[in-house]
Symmetry: C2
Subunit: 558 residues, 2 copies
């Protein structure tokens, strides 16, 4: 674009600030325009003669979220994206800061080959839109168009995406449109970005459906399309879409879906959109022609909670709603457990029946993720709670089940490093609020009060992966499970009506196509009812405590 264009409907003047020079922009309706700063040049905007503020659509914030913006020079995208569909997908969620010691986009590149060889199809980056401070999960982003400078900024991100494609990996990005972070958010100076009628647990809701909301919607829709078009991403994971409160006849998710599809079409790809819609509502994956917003897949925590409660024995918080084998069995055959029934945890009825015809692969399945690990007092991974044998059962269940599997970085080699909640806000009051809020919330969930400070650098450093603890046996198991899934169509088709499950209180056996998977968590051995040929795990269907097996054959119950 050769033109700088800023939306500031109520401003009397808008100036482009460069070094000590201020140049007035020209009003064009609700917008203000002027010549675009040159590549490499620092600029900011001044509204009504006020202090310099970052452009809400700043493409680069080299001095952080409070500083001047700069127009980046982007390295070329040289490699073509692999053509994976949702039914091929094995997603790998990672946090750039914690994935490697360097904690940067470039630092991640040497690890990609390993992931590709493991059979991963898509890397999914936790949010990279500019957020305040030196470390953070990324969900408090405020510079949504500017890749975080501490990670390596725009150029680094392009290099990472290109490197992923070179390794045959697709790349998804986690994006947050339901709120903005509390620090460095100058958007409200520019226009009515926020809603008077919608609130979220993380701050004011976004103005998606009131006066002047067209430009707010465009801000989001353009951002989504930008990642696909300008950065080469192959899809997006949309954070907390249930908090995108929108009374428009066209929901913002549908508008995002259309824009992303057309940005993808220009590249000859069909980007994958995944909604973190934690309401167990099949609507979100209904197609756009059929009354839905057309997301490819959605999250549901039920599979995780069912599996976690069985393996860890935990019953606090949401796990109190689970803990019996039939909960897990239900997720495998019905998509999710909460289909409208009452949840003690939520203290209300939750969800509605999943539409089986949509296919189980439209629900993302994970046995841990950044939230489930990180939103614990000290961020323990599943393996630290239930030991390596049960963690392997979790891996097999996730990778052989009907949902689209997503791994959380490190689980594939038995990492035991925690993933803790870290942030780096500057404002003292906000730091205190965040720490107190977190402590209160975790206490309510039964974790007690010993919570590491999110603002302590050690909390961040402790959360980094340490490849030195890699367990080759675990890695081999993940590789074998993924390979089995990828070469077996019946494991990838998501056909929930074809899933057969038998279970007792402490064991479960599942057949999909000609693959049988069984595990035993009970103190006594059980015999999985199959005479299939051993493929993985224990060869004999008589399984001891915390053992599992995978066979080619059929369940022989009757």
């Amino acid at each position: 674009m050769s033109e700088l264009r800023v939306w500031a409907p109520s401003a009397k003047t808008v100036e482009l600030v460069r070094a000590d020079e201020r140049t007035p922009l020209t009003r064009d309706g609700e917008h203000w325009t002027g010549p675009r700063p040159a590549v490499g040049e620092d600029y900011a905007l001044s509204l009504d003669g006020g202090p310099p503020r970052p452009d809400p659509r700043a493409p680069w914030l080299p001095a952080g979220v409070h500083g001047f913006a700069r127009v980046p020079e982007l390295p070329p995208l040289t490699a073509e994206a692999p053509a994976y569909g949702l039914d091929d997908a094995i997603i790998y969620e990672l946090h750039i800061g914690c994935f490697t010691e360097a904690g940067t986009f470039d630092g991640a590149i040497p690890e990609l080959k390993r992931l590709a060889e493991l059979g991963i199809t898509h890397v999914q980056l936790m949010p990279v839109g500019a957020f305040p401070g030196r470390w953070g999960w990324g969900y408090d982003g405020v510079g949504l168009f500017a890749p975080q400078e501490a990670y390596g900024g725009p150029a680094g991100l392009r290099r990472l995406v290109d490197a992923c494609h070179r390794e045959g990996l697709g790349v998804l990005l986690d994006v947050v449109y339901n709120h903005l972070g509390p620090e460095g958010n100058y958007l409200r100076d520019f226009g009515p970005y926020f809603s008077w009628r919608h609130r979220t647990p993380w701050g004011e809701g976004i103005n998606l459906d009131e006066a002047l909301s067209d430009e707010v919607r465009a801000f989001i829709v353009d951002n989504a399309a930008m990642w696909i078009r300008d950065y080469g991403f192959d899809g997006l994971r949309l954070d907390a879409t249930h908090a995108l409160l929108d009374t428009n006849a066209t929901h913002i998710l549908e508008a995002i879906g259309e824009a992303v599809a057309s940005a993808g079409a220009e590249r000859g790809i069909s980007p994958i959109l995944i909604a973190e819609q934690l309401t167990n509502d099949p609507w979100v994956v209904r197609s756009r022609g059929d009354g839905g917003p057309g997301m490819a897949a959605q999250w549901s925590d039920d599979f995780h909670h069912a599996l976690h409660a069985l393996l860890s024995g935990e019953s606090r918080g949401p796990f109190g709603d689970f803990g019996e084998m039939h909960h897990l069995a239900r997720c495998l055959t019905a998509g999710w457990y909460f289909d409208g029934r009452h949840s003690n945890h939520y203290r209300r009825s939750f969800g509605r029946p999943y539409d089986l015809a949509l296919g189980g692969h439209r629900i993302v399945a994970y046995n841990q993720n950044h939230d489930q690990v990180g939103n614990r007092a000290v961020g323990e991974r599943l393996i630290s709670l239930c030991g390596p044998e049960r963690a392997r059962i979790a891996a097999a269940m996730t990778l052989l089940g009907p949902g689209t599997p997503m791994l959380f970085m490190g689980e594939e080699y038995g990492a035991t490093t925690p993933f803790q909640f870290f942030a780096d806000f500057a404002d003292e009051g906000l730091r205190g609020d965040v720490e107190r809020g977190r402590r209160r919330e975790l206490k309510e969930q039964g974790f007690g009060e010993a919570v590491p400070s999110p603002h302590d650098e050690q909390t961040y450093l402790r959360s980094k992966l340490d490849r030195r603890e890699a367990d080759p046996e675990t890695e081999a198991l993940y590789r074998d499970l993924i390979a089995l899934r990828r070469r077996t169509p019946a494991l990838r088709d998501g056909d929930l009506t074809a899933v057969r499950v038998e279970h007792g209180p402490r064991w479960l056996a599942m057949q999909r196509g000609d693959v049988v998977f069984g595990f035993n968590l009970g103190p006594e051995p059980v015999t999985i009812p199959t005479d299939g040929v051993p493929l993985l795990g224990d060869p004999s269907p008589e399984l001891g405590t915390d053992r599992f097996g995978v066979w080619r054959g059929a369940l022989s119950s009757g």
Copy 2:
């Protein structure tokens, strides 16, 4: 019911208060139970030893919204409801207080014969749930289960419904579930009825989707079902459904739809549910099996605004988006005008295309209603703004168009009495807020500041109909138009794809089936392109200024 059952999840004690006697209720989970007071006995509830409060589900509030409740004895329903479907419907909206001088349910009964003879199929009562004060529109109700005492209470309402049925009229009730009135609202003492995250223009949103919301939803759903089951209503008009903010996988409208359908099934009827969903979103009339909540019909203001702007020449507020003949033509062939395009009034894009296959009769068409008349500074009806000739054109357009017609009480005989905004709050602060808020809002819409006080009894009395001004010619026209619609299937089928429209800047002609309707608002005569046989209005297709005609035949354009 032989048991009194009160939801008060946080209370330590709940007592039944009768005269000076207090009897503790027994805790049953989140509820409290005890013997139901006898018919005719006054009772209240005391939470944690506090002052007597009305039961949120009080069936009768003879002493008003702050007073004791009473169990009513209901007169029998003796007559069967007529079996009108939506495609038969000619709805007549009325306000009990203003419909007759008596201003009561019983007072309305003698008027019913006249409405039935006119061809009305459904009387639609503005809200009757108990609201504070001696007069009010009813949208600030707080005793949702108790018919307003000033109107005649539960017994009076049953007599009115029964009388309607006896006259062959169906009865619909306007119900308000998106907020509660600001005075006499004791619900928050009982439980978390209100939402921390949803706000409406009229107060806090309802807790439809947070902890303990099941009972709040049941409160609404049971209320909707009660009107059908216990009072014999044949359907409901749901106020401002776009403000029923609900993130549940099952939207409250769908839950209401199910409950009302099953209450109707017990009576052998299919109740009609009409949503005031002012977002131009076809979703609301999609069936429950097809991803929608299954409302029978919805409101859209576009037809009204298009017609009103043409007839009145007004361009303030929403009318600035309309005023040309193609706006009206679009409503007749496409259901509504705003299909996603930008509205200057709303300052945003609005709506999405209507799904023509749903049928135009699923959109309610009115040339005035309580809001469009009453939300003007001095509440003028259309006839007072554009004169009787144009008001007749409005009547013909409404009654012959594809939408389901709804009349506003009095228009059928040319009433010129205003319908002004009136309320009777006791709290001085609230009275001031309401008056100031109303003055500000009307001023913003270009009405100036001369607004009668809503709290002045004269404002209420001025708004009553006065049958002495009945114009027989107007009444005859309405009777003829309704009769024509009712005997002509093509006028009732709502088939939008079959509507043919021709128009110039100031004239329009529409053909539906073999009926042609044309009108001319321009200063010069125009000839409607038809050689049909005259049915109503001017016999010759050459129409002078503000004239219309209806012919049996076809449009001969080309």
